[in-house]
Subunit: 429 residues, 2 copies
């Protein structure tokens, strides 16, 4: 069967996979986001609308469910439009997730051999002709390996990757589903922290740690507050700015400089920033004898306290930044659903071994199209925050980045509330 | 002028303060909340509607502004209904705050003498005949002292306290403005953390630290999730349950018990919990040699890691729980405005030295009335979470408490958004 490299199929008029009805499976992988269930909803809705697709199975805990044969019949679980709408606004992965990395297929290694065989058996047992894997870099590696294996053994199952990560670090796509909602949470929460930090008539420093070990996209996105006239955060540090290490003296000079201008200095810092004088990160004692299993913000807090003696506070946005559906971006939720739907069309049109992508046509007005690339172009690769959007002083983001970020956080995907609390869709309750 | 002990004045038909027009001042004190600006809006709106009141001044940084004569003319700042609506949904204190404790008046102490004289001068200079202080226990102490002083020196300025604290620990009032919004944030965020914690097929423990040094109201309020069928948090620890100390072995037994029932155990803990084996809280090294300036959740995380060896995560909700206007309770915001308005009526009717209060008439349907008490009944006193609402096992809250909590978190005070970010009212920009 020929590969069709275009996924831009608008209608299900071209059933290349099979002449008879078939089933599909979908799984979620990696860290939670506020939008990964919206992508699941997109896959489910598109599959339900496709006359060739019969049943839709959800694999429990990512690829682990495919290996262990643990699948949930989604058509028996998502029984109404209300269920699907609720699912779209439920954070984290309703099917569970995993960090499982599929080994490269090796017929001489009985363990990997049996893993792949188990997956094939699950395909066979459940009549699955297409498998959709929603995840990040590692998950795209799984998509790539599984697609190669299916092709090698002549098994016609379409394997499609759908991107997902708040880190926004997948290549080939303008941005990743889940990023916009995380960025909206970060901007909203940072602005509230800024208000909170300014109440007293004393000098203070507030350091906010934001997720992103290697890529600073989410931290950099905090600069969107400028568009509404908010000068803070006054200092923004992304890992990409410090290929030669994060110098503490330079940092303390930056802070001292801002303290002359602002009574309450606000600093946004990527969790991936590693101060050069911090010898034992997150284990053992650092150069100053501190026992330390905390994040970089707590470390910078101590150093600022020692240097400036003023009120210093560190705040970790922690898992809240990846699962705060109550302040999700409507743009993100809708796009996440659409890319799931397009993935189904991509598979039905005969593609396999592809990762779905967003291509930005314009920022103002904001327009994107959904396409796909060979998954090998994205698997195990990272897309870093552009050097051109980092100011020369290494502690701020250029205004150019705003045009990129702003469309992604627009619109509010308000949850449904019951008893004053957002309602979540739950699989087993 | 006679004191009128009832503040339930519905109309401005009884101008007892003065026959000519006069000015008022209002100040905000203590820790920020999502609702303290709504109370300011209530004072401003009611004063603007009162024919006897001319100008409304905002004292900058609480009582410090009255001592230093730093007042902002609010009628020049809040110039439209849009401004006031924006103010209501802006977190933290737009006028700034303070932790300043007014000393008892002592004519033989030149420092306190001059402080009180400065306040009188500010009253005189700005033609202020009523002063409204929005704050917690300490602020009510200031109200009490200032009222006594004015009466002692025969100065006819009405001094009224308006409660505010996310801790909900002020006596004489059913609840405090700001608490409902904090509780709504805690419930919403905890539920998202619960979703996030369950994604992997491994045993895990998540410990969430919630504000409240002596009073466990906010931590206890996390039990509201039960009403929507969510069993977590599985363990809830409030300081009031441990008058004889928080025993670590007992805690670890509680956790072990829950680990048998739940793969992802969720624990809500008040910041005020002090484990008995933690000898040097927040300073120096603890009994286990850890250098430690972190909160109780981080300490419990380490102890659980040592005991159980599974994935353990601690999360501090930090300042976000007191300033998250984007998920504020509509009930709280509206009540906070109303109690500000009633405070104006209370002063105009001739009262002074009063703290405004909520009296709950019924929970279902929820009905309250706004009254007032002599401020000495509330100043410097704390209201603790009732022992009768703590389960015998000391690690859970009884269902009875739900009827108390639920009405306070109902309704959503959605902010206005611009560029995908909530719009805040800002005084100096």
């Amino acid at each position: 069967m020929a590969e069709n490299n275009s996924s831009e199929v608008g209608v299900f008029d071209n059933y290349m996979i099979s002449d008879s009805k078939f089933n599909i499976a979908v799984a979620q992988s990696g860290g939670p986001t506020a939008a990964i269930n919206a992508t699941l909803a997109g896959v489910f809705r598109a599959a339900s609308a496709c006359p060739q697709i019969d049943r839709v199975y959800g694999s429990i805990n990512g690829i682990e469910g495919m290996i262990g044969g643990e699948l949930a019949p989604l058509d028996s679980i998502l029984t109404s439009e209300e269920d699907i709408e609720l699912l779209k606004k439920t954070p984290s992965t309703v099917l569970g997730s995993c960090r499982y990395k599929l080994a490269e297929y090796d017929p001489n290694d009985s363990v990997t051999e049996s893993e792949y065989m188990n997956i094939l058996n699950t395909f066979e047992e459940y009549g699955i002709k297409a498998f959709f894997y929603i995840g990040g870099n590692d998950s795209m590696d799984t998509v790539m390996k599984l697609d190669r294996y299916c092709k090698a053994v002549g098994r016609d199952v379409k394997i499609i990757g759908i991107p997902k990560t708040i880190d926004n670090d997948l290549p080939c796509t303008d941005h990743t589903p889940g990023f916009g909602s995380a960025a909206k949470y970060v901007a909203t929460t940072l602005q509230e922290i800024i208000r909170d930090s300014r109440v007293y008539s004393i000098q203070s420093i507030t350091i906010v740690e934001i997720m992103g070990r290697n890529a600073g996209w989410l931290t950099a996105s905090s600069s969107v507050l400028r568009v509404n006239g908010e000068p803070a955060p006054h200092l923004i540090y992304v890992p990409e700015a410090f290929p030669d290490g994060f110098d503490m003296e330079h940092f303390l000079d930056d802070v001292a400089h801002m303290m002359k201008r602002y009574r309450a200095v606000i600093i946004a810092v990527s969790e991936g920033i590693v101060p050069t004088d911090r010898q034992y990160v997150k284990t053992g004692a650092d150069a100053f004898g501190h026992t330390d299993n905390s994040g970089v913000a707590k470390y910078l807090e101590r150093r600022c306290s020692e240097r400036f003696g003023c009120k210093v506070r560190s705040i970790e946005l922690n898992v809240m930044q990846r699962c705060s559906s109550h302040i999700a971006s409507l743009t993100d939720i809708n796009e996440s659903e659409s890319i799931g739907a397009e993935a189904v069309k991509c598979a039905v049109s005969g593609c396999s071994g592809r990762m779905m992508t967003f291509r930005r046509i314009s920022s103002e007005p904001y327009r994107i199209e959904i396409t796909s690339v060979d998954v090998s172009e994205a698997a195990n690769k990272e897309k870093f925050f552009p050097a051109g959007w980092i100011c020369d002083n290494k502690c701020d983001i250029t205004p150019d980045a705003l045009n990129y970020f702003l469309p992604l956080i627009r619109g509010e995907a308000m949850p449904e509330f019951r008893n004053g609390i957002p309602v979540h869709f739950r699989l087993n309750q």
